[in-house]
């Protein structure tokens, strides 16, 4: 294997994992912008999405596309329940009660899944039968390719949705200034509910995509969420572009550090990067220096 091929292989897996971090980070960012709260159950959305897919596809043996759509539908329902059960009752409190409420939801969701599905991790089929193919000494895993393509589509969709539709603009207005949005007649509570539904679905999508590689397990969301959270800070807290760039940067740095420096300390490099950013550029790559929201 040439050095070039090795580097490409490492880059490829870094990009794929980075895309997953980016998808989950995107969910984080949307909720941070809408509610000013970090949703600690964001990783569990990925886990729930994977289990929903496992139920529809492996247990109920539905066709892949139908199982996929139904799993996403389940996630939208979970998003609604999450909004009204975890966020809405505490919406007029400070951020801390909401934060703890999401933490509680995370523990509750993990243990509920444990009780229903048991502790054994489960395999999930890839989107394509083919394992992947060889291009000039580099093996391109079919699932990693799917992850990359879907991430690009999701990001493009998100851009279009927020910049070019009325609903997207209303959501943006809500996240920028709730009181002003309310004065302009935007139903703020509705907008926040939609944000939760969208983040839950996005998180679920990330889980469904990554499950064939990492398997369906209760802990699968936690590790991803931790990295995704680091990605949101690196990219710029609450910045959509930042979540995507931060996630992919984190995946690639981690992958190369493991290949060239140390495998056991792979995770440490991810957090070292976070640490450096916090010291040198705490507002992140795209973050603006905003002192306080007025």
């Amino acid at each position: 294997m040439t050095n070039m091929a090795v580097n490409m292989q490492v880059l490829f897996s870094g990009l794929a994992l980075g895309s997953i971090y980016a998808l989950v980070a995107l969910g984080f960012v949307l909720i941070i912008r809408a509610t000013n709260v970090v949703n600690f159950a964001q990783g569990d959305f990925a886990m729930l999405g994977a289990y929903a897919m496992f139920t529809m596809f492996t247990v109920l043996k539905l066709p892949y596309w139908l199982a996929f759509l139904l799993a996403l539908a389940v996630m939208t329902v979970i998003g609604v329940i999450f909004n009204y059960g975890v966020y809405y009752p505490l919406r007029n409190r400070s951020f801390l009660p909401v934060l703890i409420s999401t933490l509680g939801a995370s523990i509750f969701l993990q243990n509920t899944v444990l009780a229903v599905f048991g502790p054994q991790p489960q395999p999930l089929d890839k989107v394509f039968q083919s394992q992947g193919f060889q291009v000039g000494g580099v093996f391109l895993d079919s699932q990693y390719l799917v992850i990359l393509v879907v991430t690009v589509i999701a990001v493009a969709f998100q851009y279009f949705f927020f910049e070019h539709t009325m609903l997207g603009k209303k959501l943006q207005a809500t996240s920028q200034d709730k009181d002003m949005a309310r004065l302009l007649g935007i139903p703020v509570a509705w907008m926040i509910a939609i944000t939760f539904v969208y983040s839950a679905t996005l998180g679920g999508l990330a889980g469904i995509l990554v499950a064939p590689v990492l398997f369906v397990s209760i802990g699968m969301g936690s590790t991803i969420a931790l990295k995704a959270f680091a990605a949101t800070i690196i990219g710029g807290f609450g910045d959509v572009k930042g979540a995507i760039v931060g996630g992919i940067l984190l995946g690639v740095v981690e992958s190369f550090a493991a290949a060239y420096i140390s495998v056991p300390y792979k995770d440490a490099f991810a957090f070292l990067l976070l640490f450096i950013f916090l010291l040198v550029r705490p507002q992140g790559i795209f973050g603006e220096k905003v002192s306080e929201k007025a």
């Binding site: 895993d141 590689v213 209760i218 290949a259």
Partner: protein, 378 residues
């Protein structure tokens, strides 16, 4: 009001009757992973132990006394294990305690076991557990110094591996196993050309697979703790075209790893202290177990089943459940055939001194041979 009092009285009498009845039984504790991440394994353990209990009780019990079980959940955690031991020992009247199977949990509970002063039959394979100056820990499985010996011997002599790459988890089990394997390989004149650690729950093994590929190794030796890691690693090895021989610790043949990795683990070798078709004892046990529970047993069931029969043998020869006499009787056990092999206790309390080598033949685990070592001299 009167009604309530009568009810209480009735309940109390019932309690007394049960209590009186319990005095005639031999009480055995089981510290078990009933809840938490290892609950699946814990269920196998309860199955194995209760199958032995049922058989022994049906055949008239131990010295005419029936066995009674006290299962205490350790929640798959270290503090849970300490608490479970304290509870069982504090209850009094318990002859011996089985469990758990995880080395770190046993290490955590070791001081409690020592203070408690009743025999604890454990399944953890970290060699240091029985060398801790704790007279009450007995191991009813082989320890990892033997697994490394078997891995090295079979890999070098039978699989003809010359250039070894070792991949290991960086936790206590993986690092201990890696050190033991390097030592045993050195004894056979082989120095590994690559030693690579990883932290548990890694999401991507691409860098490790590439390192193995580039090292030019012809055999892979692994001590991996978690089955999902085995699954991801095996799949990536296959994808990146690494087809060298592979021999490793028993996680390679865990039910979960087999399910997750599928054909990526075909034709790999593993050491194992229990396989269903190793000998007459394991075949008979497998038959009874699968008839009762509808699936084949694995090591999580077999070690506890074997442990119960060790206790039966020891109590019968001591003619007592008094701790000191029971301890001497367990240490005196020689040549007792059981599901984990032949139980031959040495002075450290190690009961089993050999391992099987098994092969993954298209997803089915096939017994190849058993390698037995002489127990350390008395």
């Amino acid at each position: 009001m009167l009604k309530i009092i009568t009810r209480f009285a009735a309940l109390a009498t019932l309690g007394l009757v049960v209590g009186a009845h319990a005095a005639d039984t031999i009480k055995i504790g089981l510290v078990n992973e009933t809840t938490g991440p290892n609950a699946e394994a814990g269920q196998f353990t309860v199955n194995g132990a209760s199958l032995a209990q049922e058989e022994i009780n049906k055949a008239g019990g131990i010295m005419g006394r029936q066995i009674e079980f006290r299962v205490e959940d350790n929640q798959s955690t270290n503090p849970g294990t300490v608490l479970a031991y304290s509870k069982l020992i504090g209850e009094g009247g318990i002859a011996a305690i089985l469990g758990p199977i995880r080395s770190t949990q046993i290490k955590a509970a070791s001081p409690t076991i020592k203070k408690g002063g009743i025999p604890a039959l454990v399944g953890g394979t970290d060699p240091s557990l029985t060398k801790d100056n704790n007279p009450w820990i007995f191991r009813v499985r082989p320890n990892d110094s033997y697994s490394a010996k078997v891995n090295a011997a079979y890999g070098v002599n039978d699989l003809k591996g010359k250039k070894w790459a070792i991949v290991h988890s960086t936790d206590a089990f993986g690092s201990g196993g890696k050190d033991a394997l390097i030592t045993e390989l050195k004894a056979l004149g082989v120095t590994p050309i690559l030693v690579q650690g990883y932290t548990n729950n890694s999401q991507d093994f691409t860098p490790i697979v590439l390192a193995v590929k580039q090292s030019g190794a012809d055999i892979l030796g692994t001590y991996m703790t978690n089955s999902p890691d085995v699954g991801i690693f095996a799949k990536q090895l296959k994808q990146l075209g690494v087809n060298i021989k592979w021999i490793g610790s028993p996680s390679l043949i865990s039910v979960t790893a087999l399910k997750l990795a599928g054909d990526a683990l075909y034709d790999t070798y593993s050491v194992a202290d229990f396989t269903t078709d190793a000998n007459d004892e394991t075949k008979a046990f497998t038959k009874k177990y699968s008839a009762k529970f509808g699936l084949d047993p694995d090591v999580y069931a077999s070690w506890a089943y074997g442990g119960m029969y060790i206790l039966k043998t020891a109590i019968e020869s001591a003619k007592s459940t008094e701790p000191d006499k029971l301890r001497a009787a367990i240490l005196a056990i020689r040549g007792l055939k059981g599901v984990e092999g032949t139980y031959d206790f040495d002075q450290n309390g190690d009961g089993v001194h050999g391992y099987h080598v098994v092969r993954n033949d298209k997803g089915k685990i096939v017994f190849i041979k058993h390698i037995e070592f002489p127990p350390p001299a008395k």
